[in-house]
């Protein structure tokens, strides 16, 4: 009797479930703990209402994000159903089977990568790079850019001093050389009775900070990761004379124009220095710009934004940002894919931008009026057009740690020369690729 009752209930449940669509699931989305994550929590409430699934979130602060989440993936953990993982993880996650491949799903649902900015597709979704194998949907477009104190730049006394010192008007830097001049000009200057400094730049040692800052400069001096015609051929590209010049520039910028004690700064320290009025210029990812605009001290027109200035070897900026993937160890893959389908809708992407997220969808960022939608929107577009990214190889962590070590040792500790640092980096990277069987 009891068994019969249970069977009847199950049959009724199946009928109701069938009528309503998929059974409600509980999804966990893993990402870094930062402002955009809070916006995504708000945005996802619509998905919960629409789908009946419930969402929970696991956000980890940036310095521990890679450690925590890569441990989770490598151990086959089931904490995360959806992962907004860093762009450099894509190679390792694809080859180790942490993410599910999404080509078939995209095809079934009519989601096409042509709808997204090409740089974000290459950076966040593809592995191997340049092939149509997709492991993520571009979720958050980000790039290293610059914020400056527009109110200081507009002051007559400051402009007059700059004119006198450099024989030109104080304008937003368009070249790396101009960036250095502006940073030097503000270093140690008294503004409203307070000593201010030139620039807050990335110098962090523990995770990826100084590498993101250094590459952002090196690209503009002609640094290449390898020979464009022969992959993994590093010598003469990583340590080219142009790359050496770029690294020397970064060290000079650190030595001359940063606040005292900024030897281990990354995103949050730079934000704090800028918002507290310590620095005139701030290097940081674009994700901070909505927060700067909303800040009572530096927002509301007091700040301006510019793309990473051009250098003698070209005009580039370091790519940030992430794609959203479905974790292969998840028991709720169908519901997770449902979330991605929902997230890929143009109107949701538009709301994502409106709420402070950074959409990578063309229909959003190329819409008429987008460039004027926020004070930083045009700079965001300009920056996204010039991006380059770090290695996304499965061994990216070894490549990253080697670069962290070598450039921090030269730029911050002042050991050796730029040439020696990059020569040593070539040796380290060669060893990594030999271990990987790629050389």
């Amino acid at each position: 009797m009891k068994m019969r009752g249970l069977m009847l209930s199950a049959a009724a449940g199946a009928l109701i479930g069938g009528a309503q669509g998929a059974v409600a699931d509980e999804l966990t989305l893993c990402w870094a703990a930062w402002d955009p994550a809070n916006a995504l929590v708000e945005l996802s409430k619509d998905f919960e209402a629409e789908s009946g699934h419930t969402m929970s979130f696991e956000f980890v602060p940036w310095p521990n994000f890679a450690d925590r989440m890569l441990n989770e993936l490598n151990s086959g953990g089931q904490l995360c159903d959806l992962m907004i993982g860093d762009s450099q993880w894509i190679g390792g996650a694809a080859e180790s089977g942490h993410y599910i491949k999404m080509n078939d799903f995209f095809e079934e649902q009519g989601i096409t990568m042509d709808d997204f900015l090409p740089a974000t597709v290459t950076g966040y979704a593809e592995w191997p790079k340049g092939t149509p194998n997709y492991w993520a949907l571009p979720a958050y477009a980000d790039v290293v850019g610059w914020t400056y104190r527009k109110d200081w730049f507009e002051r007559e006394d400051v402009r007059a001093d700059f004119q006198e010192e450099y024989g030109r008007e104080l304008t937003v830097p368009e070249t790396q050389a101009e960036l250095m001049e502006v940073a030097k000009f503000f270093q140690g200057r008294e503004i409203d009775g307070r000593t201010v400094y030139g620039a807050a730049i990335y110098t962090e040692r523990g995770s990826e900070g100084i590498t993101m800052g250094v590459t952002n400069t090196l690209y503009n001096y002609g640094f290449e990761y390898d020979n464009p015609d022969q992959p993994y051929d590093l010598a003469g590209y990583v340590n080219s004379p142009e790359a050496v010049e770029g690294l020397e520039f970064y060290k000079e910028l650190y030595d001359c124009c940063t606040p005292p004690g900024s030897s281990d700064w990354y995103m949050s320290e730079n934000i704090d220095a800028y918002k507290s009025g310590q620095v005139a210029l701030q290097m940081n990812f674009a994700f901070i710009w909505p927060g700067v605009e909303a800040d009572p001290n530096v927002g509301g027109g007091k700040s301006g934004y510019f793309a990473n200035p051009e250098g003698p070897g070209g005009h580039f900026a370091q790519l940030g940002g992430q794609g959203i993937s479905v974790v292969s160890y998840s028991d709720s893959q169908d519901a997770a894919l449902e979330y991605i389908k929902w997230f890929a809708q143009p109107e949701i992407q538009q709301r994502w931008w409106d709420m402070g997220g950074a959409s990578a969808m063309k229909s959003v960022v190329e819409a008429p009026g987008f460039a004027d939608s926020q004070p930083y929107a045009q700079t965001f577009l300009d920056s996204m057009a010039i991006v380059k990214d770090f290695w996304a190889e499965p061994a990216y962590a070894s490549l990253l740690l080697a670069m962290q070590d070598r450039v921090h040792d030269y730029v911050i500790a002042g050991n050796g020369t730029a040439k020696e640092a990059l020569d040593a980096l070539v040796e380290d990277w060669t060893e990594v690729f030999e271990d990987e069987g790629k050389l």
Partner: protein
């Protein structure tokens, strides 16, 4: 009453089980008691050690479960022992160990000696002094980064006030020459109370009759200190050095919070370096070899030290 309880328990034991137990030797019963502990020891300590030794001869990477694992012989060991960067981290660790232990012994003993002189409020001051070691190393690391901040840090301000230097003219955790001392200062601040407590226990274990006898023999306080106090506290002090040595050899959290191993690799201790190899680069085989080398080093040094400690105790 107890006899009846035993009788009841015996009566309740099934005859088959009772027969079996009755037939066991004392040795077998002893094995039954220690067996679970030995099993746990094997499972938790010995098996992982043997497994680590096995992995150290391979190119295994835990993040590539599907990749073929190859035997690489002694290659991992050879690469570690010939890597100049690793020798630099060993040097940084040795510097950290030597200076933290030296300063903690010096200050710990001095504080214990002072506290041992009974004075009003000595218990209160003992509590105040031991407060730092009650804090979490991560918290200590974090707030010392603020104390060392060149623009707002109290440490820089005090040094500037005493020396006349501009507080923002030096960065304790940002300069190669100062960063190793920055971590030594913090560890000394945090763990000197531990050494003090052990020394205090040693000082309070010395019978006053010995000092009284020495005074009858007209021994000066200086002579009493060197011939009574120091020799009798020495075993305690050596024990404290052993504990601090082992702890500081694996120091991680405090230094990661303070300097992250920088500037450059100036404060990258072996434990930080090993963690990066094992859990950031995921070179499991290589990191296993590294761990075995460190284990042999610590085990060897600790064994020699314990022998010396036993000799001192026997005196």
């Amino acid at each position: 009453m107890s006899n009846s309880a035993i009788e009841r328990a015996a009566a309740a034991t099934p005859p088959g089980v009772a027969r079996k137990i009755r037939g066991l030797s004392d040795r077998a019963i002893a094995w039954i008691f220690v067996g679970p502990s030995i099993f746990l020891l094997l499972a938790v300590n010995i098996f992982p050690l043997i497994w680590t030794i096995r992995l150290s001869f391979t190119n295994y990477r835990v993040n590539r479960p599907n990749a073929e694992v190859q035997n690489v012989g002694l290659r991992n060991y050879e690469r570690i022992l010939t890597d100049t960067d690793i020798w630099e981290t060993m040097q940084a660790t040795a510097h950290f160990l030597f200076w933290t232990i030296a300063l903690q012994v010096l200050f710990g003993f001095a504080l214990a000696w002072l506290i041992n002189k009974k004075f009003r409020g000595d218990n209160f001051w003992t509590t105040v002094i031991v407060l730092p070691m009650m804090l979490s190393p991560a918290v200590v690391g974090n707030f010392w980064t603020f104390l060392y901040q060149p623009q707002i840090g109290l440490f820089n301000y005090v040094v500037g006030f005493l020396s006349g230097a501009d507080p923002s003219s030096f960065s304790m955790i940002g300069e190669v020459s100062l960063a190793p001392w920055a971590i030594v200062i913090v560890d000394t601040w945090m763990w000197t109370p531990f050494v003090m407590l052990i020394c205090l226990a040693g000082l309070r274990s010395i019978p006053t009759s010995i000092y009284e006898a020495a005074e009858c023999d007209r021994a000066s306080p200086w002579r009493q200190f060197w011939t009574i106090t120091v020799p009798m506290v020495l075993p305690f002090l050596m024990l404290a050095v052993l504990f601090r040595g082992i702890e500081n050899f694996k120091m991680f959290d405090l230094v990661v919070q303070l300097t992250g191993g920088g500037p450059g690799s100036t404060t990258e201790l072996t434990s930080i370096n090993l963690k990066r190899e094992a859990f950031e680069k995921w070179r499991t085989g290589y990191a296993s070899a590294y761990a075995i080398i460190l284990f042999v080093t610590v085990f060897g040094l600790a064994s020699i030290y314990v022998k010396a400690l036993n000799k001192v105790k026997e005196r």
